[in-house]
């Protein structure tokens, strides 16, 4: 499989390195010498120094033979033109583009159905706002993702010392849960991913990932001693595109929302476009301002400025001053592992969201979505089990799953089945598989169809 990536920024670089590791044929195009050098130094990929919107550069990159074109520069316009040019030279290449400007929101379908025929428009900001909304409503969750149009969720939580389950064996979890016991897929302990078995114990401080049906998530969280508290007051710092999207959403839901922004012009703009949201002009990391705005009564503090260091510090400050919960926007991946150590639990990243929406298109077999968990050590994949593939027609225990993988859910029409070794997957079932990175290519193989599939 050949993939051309236009733009070697954080997203382009990351996708390129993942695909190169999986043995795919990757070409990276960027104008910037430093960005190109970073690719050649770290990744086994072909590079071209030039503009990704140029037909000559795209031809040189081999667009005619490419399966997928990924346009992920930081400019919407360049991404659009790159797709337009690719559509002319090589119409059958699948095109994915990152387009962030909200003005384009209504035109995503038009871009798909008419030239430039972009198969998937990725707007990481929409995804991030969704993630923030999910994190807000789930007590204690540090990572949340969803499948099957939201009917199944996976949730990552830190196990508190006082929690009943701290020290419990996995096999005892169901006896200790009042209602339904959550299906625990993975544990991250000291930055290491563990797929626990019945005899393994959960420890305080573990980041525990479990899968649950939507309407039972709160019950499952209660098993981990995380209880829902209503959200009444929200304070947002930074009125960029994400800040504005989030504020409008909270506005509609009638949650008391305040938003702090440094730029007075932007403040005026927002005040005009938002209804009940209070727009404040000032610095979100200013202790006095936070005090004035009664930070101690805030249920969720969300730092979304362009500057991630500011976001981290503002969140720490807010937490210390009594905000009940903080959510912090981070872009640099190298900061992720630091966050829980300095006490920042809930982190969102538009780039990670972009990568997740791109990955599903690159996976083989009929993969509907694929979401990396923290640290990218493993993925949750949602796929359709196709006729003639190895996964259908026999009990799970008789299928040779690679080490480090687990089927965590089966959806048959409207029903959700939490599988056991005797469960049999039928064609057209939707399945959710959790897999370590090393196991992914083997999982892809299991999902693949035989020759007889039409």
């Amino acid at each position: 499989m050949k993939v051309i990536i236009v733009g070697a920024g954080e997203v382009g670089f990351h996708i390129a390195s993942r695909l190169a590791l999986e043995g795919k044929d990757v070409v990276v195009i960027d104008k910037n010498h430093d960005a190109i050098r970073r690719v050649t130094d770290n990744i086994d990929a072909q590079v071209i120094n030039g503009s990704g919107s140029s037909p000559i550069v795209l031809e040189e990159a081999g667009i005619k033979n490419a399966d997928i074109l990924l346009a992920v520069t930081n400019s919407d316009e360049i991404n659009l033109v790159a797709c337009l040019v690719a559509n002319i030279i090589s119409p059958s290449t699948k095109k994915l583009a990152r387009i962030r400007d909200a003005d384009f929101d209504k035109y995503h379908d038009t871009f798909r159905n008419h030239a430039p025929h972009i198969d998937t428009v990725i707007n990481p900001e929409i995804e991030v706002v969704k993630t923030i909304e999910r994190l807000m409503t789930m007590p204690g969750a540090v990572d949340v993702g969803e499948f099957a149009d939201g009917r199944i969720k996976f949730v990552g939580i830190h196990l508190d010392e006082k929690a009943r389950l701290a020290g419990a064996r996995l096999s005892d979890v169901s006896a200790m849960s009042e209602k339904q016991s959550p299906l625990i897929a993975a544990v991250i302990r000291d930055d290491k991913l563990i797929i626990p078995r019945g005899n393994d114990r959960l420890m305080a401080g573990d980041l525990v990932y479990f899968v649950s049906e939507e309407d039972k998530v709160l019950d499952a969280l209660a098993v981990f001693d995380k209880h829902a508290e209503p959200i009444r007051r929200v304070l947002i710092v930074g009125a960029g595109r994400i800040g504005f999207r989030l504020a409008s959403l909270l506005d509609e839901k009638s949650i008391h929302t305040k938003i702090i922004e440094k730029n007075p012009d932007r403040c005026a703009q927002l005040a005009e476009r938002l209804n009940k949201v209070v727009v404040l002009h000032g610095d979100g990391s200013d202790q006095e301002l936070l005090n004035e705005e009664n930070i101690q009564d805030i249920d969720v503090f969300i730092a979304l400025t362009k500057n991630e260091e500011t976001n981290i510090l503002a969140s720490l400050l807010a937490r210390q001053m009594g905000a009940r919960k903080t959510i912090t926007k981070i872009s640099k991946f190298s900061y992720f592992s630091l966050m829980s150590k300095i006490g920042i639990e809930q982190v969102v990243s538009p780039r990670l969201s972009a990568i997740n929406s791109i990955l599903q298109h690159i996976r083989r077999g009929k993969v509907l979505s694929s979401i990396s968990i923290k640290g990218e050590e493993a993925e949750f994949m949602e796929a359709v089990a196709l006729e003639t593939s190895d996964i259908v027609g026999k009990p799970l225990k008789r299928i040779s799953f690679p080490e480090g993988s687990l089927v965590t859910g089966i959806m048959r029409k409207k029903n959700i089945i939490i599988p056991s070794g005797d469960s049999v997957i039928e064609p057209e079932d939707r399945i959710i598989i959790f897999a370590r990175r090393q196991a992914i290519s083997k999982i892809e193989k299991i999902l693949m169809v035989k020759l007889e599939y039409f």
Binding site: S92, T93, R364, G365, M448, Y453, F454
Partner: protein
């Protein structure tokens, strides 16, 4: 059903030029689109999508790309030879030389499966494969297939 009943001389390509999967698919469909009166882009897209679910390169130098298409009136068969061989992501990881392209209408019944079975069956014959690989033009290829087809 006989292969020869559906194989048209015009859709036989004795010397494929492309070096990669997508290029070969584009080349294989080119003579087919005139006969079938379908859009090339749609056709290639169907084939590429099918390959994504699992390669039709079954090993032994053989690839049988296939798919279903809505606007097709009847089943269509194409053939191509690549002298150099192509990386078709086949199961044995070796280059692919012999290609049968099979397109069927969306509502087609079991017929296409029978044809697929027949194609994979005659390709088990190594002597036949050898002859195909050494053929020079479409007439010769047509006759070799015809001869083998009548054996059954």
């Amino acid at each position: 059903m006989k292969i020869i009943d559906v194989l048209n001389k015009e859709t036989i390509l004795p010397d494929l030029k492309a070096h990669d999967k997508k290029g070969v698919l584009e080349e294989l469909v080119t003579p087919v689109i005139h006969i079938a009166g379908v859009n090339k882009k749609d056709l290639v897209r169907v084939l590429v999508e099918r390959e994504r679910l699992g390669s039709t390169g079954i090993g032994g130098g053989i690839g049988i790309p296939h798919g279903k298409l809505k606007d097709l009136e009847s089943l269509i068969l194409g053939f191509g030879l690549s002298r150099e061989g192509v990386d078709f992501e086949s199961m044995d990881g070796r280059p692919t030389h012999i290609f049968f392209l099979l397109m069927t209408p969306e509502n087609s019944t079991g017929l296409h499966l029978k044809l697929l079975a027949r194609i994979s069956k005659i390709l088990k014959n190594n002597l036949f494969k050898e002859k195909l690989l050494n053929a020079t033009d479409s007439d010769e290829i047509f006759n070799i297939i015809k001869e083998e087809d009548e054996e059954f």
